[in-house]
Amino acid sequence: MTDGQVIKRARYKSSVKDFGVPGVLKMTRERFFFMPNDPKSSARLNVEFRLVKGHKFTKEGSNKQALLNLTVDQGGNYIFEFDTFSDRDACREYVATAIAVSGEAGRAGSERSAAPLQDEQLSHAEMERRIRLLQEDSELQKLHKQLVIGGVLSEAEFWATRKKLLDENASRKSKQQVGLRNDMFHVKPSSDGQSNKVTFNLTPEIIHQIFAEKPAVRQAFLNFVPSKMTEKEFWTKYSRAEYLHSTKNVVVAAAEAAEDDELAVFLKQDDMAASEARRKIRRVDPTLDMEADEGDDYTHLPDHGLSCDGSKDVTDSPYELYRRSLLQELNRHAAVVLEGRAIDVELGDTRSVAEALARSKQDDLTDEVSDGNINQERLDRISRMAEIDDLQAPRDLAVAPLCIKDPRDYFDSQQANAIKSLGDTLAGAKQMKCSLSTAEAYGSLRDYISEIKTSGLNDSIVKPEVALKVLNGLTQSISSTKYHLGKNPHESVLDRLPYVAKQELLHHWMSIQELLKHFWSSYPITTTHLFTKVSRLKDAMSQIYPKLQEIKESVQSDFRHQVSLLVQPMLQALDAAFAHYDADIQKRSAKSGERPNGFV
């Protein structure tokens, strides 16, 4: 989305009421152009996105215009009207990313030049996004309140570590497709008890589901509405049919269907679904294909063999057409849910939903022609399935690439672990000598090679005993906690604590994480700004320290051990930070003797 460009037909308007100048809107990364169709018109535009502060748009609806309004820094705005909402949405998305990119570029520039102490100029959208993030995430909000409003961190510092959240959220979230709810729609007719009226509620969601599960209804909708009846009449009729089904009175259903052709469509079995099924079955895995069995079964010629238990179905032929089973509906429903939302249409407009679904089915049909390699794939699959895996050496498994959604989050937590275990050694860590001469490097390499030559490469990288020890060390506390708490998987240590204590503990954990993150990232201290920041952070951390002790003491005695186990790593991490801080201050004061001017 961020690269390339978007070109759409649009009308440029000076105000919403204005008819506007028809033309072409073209957007590139940095700027957008408007070329009127009439070359003599003066409504030509060429504006940089840098200047665009924000955008507004109209809600989608059948009788509304598809408008996009770009507001500019200086206070002006550009309004465009599009032919369709999809065009508008494409532009809207593009504009959103373009604004974000240019805004960020601007900010980055300013950050570099100006003193980072000052809050940078935020674009409106940026601010909005931050506010939204805070609103969505209560924990983040709490943290923000404590640290930023409490003056420990500046706004910019707080967000600097969350850049990922900021720029990804907006553009990525909308791309994720939402699946369908696995919820059978069943008209539960609600009657008011007094009159004989029955009410049905249909939402756009339900309508979409009906269309997806019942192609015949979808087709009927496209055929009947609006030429033969209104949408309301259509759904009334449909609900009538559903009601008849729910009474399970086949005879009545048949009688009503005989009188009303349109109603009959809903009452009869879905031929389209059946033919679709017949088409699909050709692509089924042959090791599942029970239809093929039937084709091979000469014992069960009509009336040969014994009728097995219960499978005898009574067919009163005239009514069979109107019989419908829950089982069938369940299968159909689950298949649709599994397929997921295949269409990318807003659910508001019933007709467009129906059309889009019909189209997607059409696409499936055309796909079918080229299923040569699907066949091959299927054969491979069967032969793979035929193997007995534990009688042979493991084959190379297909590896799914590891996808870490937020690398920062992931590696931060890893770092915390590392700090925890290295806690004490870090304080007294001696300065590593980092510059090596070529000769030294060569020497060490030679040593390694000769070592390998003598001992060979047979040794595994890590000795199994060592590996086991490490693993035990790492997992011991987990397993022992599990063990002590019994086998209930739902219950973790935290759940057994009083609610308040749990919340507080979690909150402290979060803020310690945050503070430590900032603390360690400030080293080595090169500017005064960093120095003050570090001391601020240190103060904040030392405030938390006693609070943790308090929690430890306040909880009941039977939880105390668990809590102290939980608090221990936090304290260790804080201790490590303090030790480092003190060591650094000492070093500095020693140095400051030489350089009385303080920091450079």
Binding site: D183, P286, T287, E291, G295, H304, S307, K312, N331, L338
Partner: protein, 696 residues
Amino acid sequence: MKFQIEDVTVYFPYDHIYPEQYAYMVELKRALDAKGHCLLEMPTGTGKTIALLSLITSYTLSKPSNPIKLLYCTRTVHEMEKTLAELKLLHKYQIQHLGPAARILALGLSSRKNLCINPSVVSAENRDSVDAACRKLTASWVRALAIENPNIPSCEFFENYEKAASDAVLPPGVYTLQDLRVFGKEKGWCPYFLARHMVQFANVVVYSYQYLLDPKVAGIISKEMQRESVVVFDEAHNIDNVCIEALSVSVRKQTLEGATRNLSKMSQEIERFKATDAGRLRAEYNRLVDGLAQRGNLPLADTWLANPALPDDILKEAVPGNIRRAEHFLSVLRRLVQYLKGRLQTENVEKEGPVTFVASINAQVGIDQKMLKFCYDRLHSLMLTLEITDTDEFLHIQTICDFATLVGTYTRGFSIIIEPFDERMPHIPDPVLQLSCHDASLAIKPVFERFQSVVITSGTLSPIDLYPRLLNFNPVVSRSFTMSLTRDCICPMVLTRGSDQLPVSTKFDLRSDPGVERNYGRLLLEMVSVVPDGIVCFFVSYSYMDGIVNSWHESGILKDIMQHKLVFIETQDVVETTLALDNYRKACDCGRGAVFFSVARGKVAEGIDFDRHYGRLVIMFGVPFQYTLSRILLARLEYLRETFQIKEGDFLTFDALRQAAQCVGRVIRSKADYGMMIFADKRFVHVFSFNTSLYS
């Protein structure tokens, strides 16, 4: 790997072998050496099929002087595909180690419906119409006409195949049905007739049970198999049922109405021929006088389903004089249909033996036993004479003649039961006349006699001494192997009470108890919320499943279940069930997770694997006893008690147990697999004490 079993070098396509597989091969080899039949039981998940295939192919390889042919019978087409896939693997391995010497020809055989590649034929909706559509293009008289008149359509694939004549052969290799179709398309030959031709030369043939057991099919397909063959019935725990079904016929009102229509159509045809081509009818009459009911070798494409009676029981003599003339034969059939119509109008359940039934036919409509016996042959001859190609239209009269032939041929082991309505729905009249076979040994006898070795194997054959009695044969080897477990990969449990401490059961008095239904629902709900991937549930019957799913739906339990997993259900419509299964697998593959509701004794329980993540848990709701009020079952039980001294209760428990074991065994495929099994019925405690060898 490669190893020796006595004098045979076995090529086994894996690096390791389970100890029970080795033991299985040793026993199997002894049976082959002794040229006798054997009975081998080994639990599912131990690689029976591959052990069997690799021993028998290796046996042939090490004794090239007298090669044996392998006829491998599976219950279903999809099992056929699985077997062929394993055979492919094995073949690849053997070629790798032995070179071209290890080449074999192996193929699967199925009906036209599954093999035809002519788009105009295969698009017909069911098997019978595909067969008929094929005959319309390939029957000898149609082809003769087509030569003269190019406007009469013919099948290019069949013509090409005929033209290629003896050149039309399959090169060595392993062919699944799909491979056969692809090969046929490539060469432009009809895969169905090619496969039927190649069956005689193939080293391994994989086909369905019926191709050997059902005389109607076996008479065409398996007539010319050599004696030096090993016949394997895999998953054979239900083989007795297949045998009795092969010899059973039922007649309903619709059948009789259809038969009447067929008869009038045929008499019209006869009139037409009389007017235009009287010579043909006369020729047929003369042939029948000469005693040739079946005219020797029919052209390949003219054959139709063979005589429903077993080959040894078919009389090789001239058709009786009074049905030689076409009109006479039709009037005999009309009288027979009329008689059966009269019998169906009864208001009570009637049960009698074939002898009294035949006597009463003779007394009332004057058709004697011999005439009945020849009904099939006579009809067949008449249909060929009348050049009828739309055989699917004439299935009803076919059924009547099959019935007549069987009832005229057999005097014991059968009974005729007439029920005016279904026991469970007494208010709906649905009269049915059933000729049911009780003796499983009848249908399988010719197989035991004709072939050198017959191997009956399955995951559950216990009690293993029951099968030789049911099927009336003497196995040289009869062994039951247990599974060696290196770890607890299965966790069977019996659940007798629900969470409210009420007993759960599908016993008749508890069956519709809302408490039981609720408890079952809650059990499933708790399970779907903790078990990953796929769960399979088996119910005792369709009607029970339908009822309980509806009640779960109304009480909202189903909705809660659907919050955790997708729900797919086996229905009576195979197409829908197949798609449901396919979707179920997709849901398990993508991590969505799903539940599959299925029926014990149903098509799914019979052969679909729910291995690996496709089935981490299987729940058996209720003990799958047969419907004990069924007249047919009662008659069979009586016969078993009188003839084989098998107690009713024992047989019923044995039968329920093998079904249950079959259902839960679907979740384990290898020892690397794992799964949990819940038997939810208080009666399982007693059932398991009857036989503990299920999974020890």
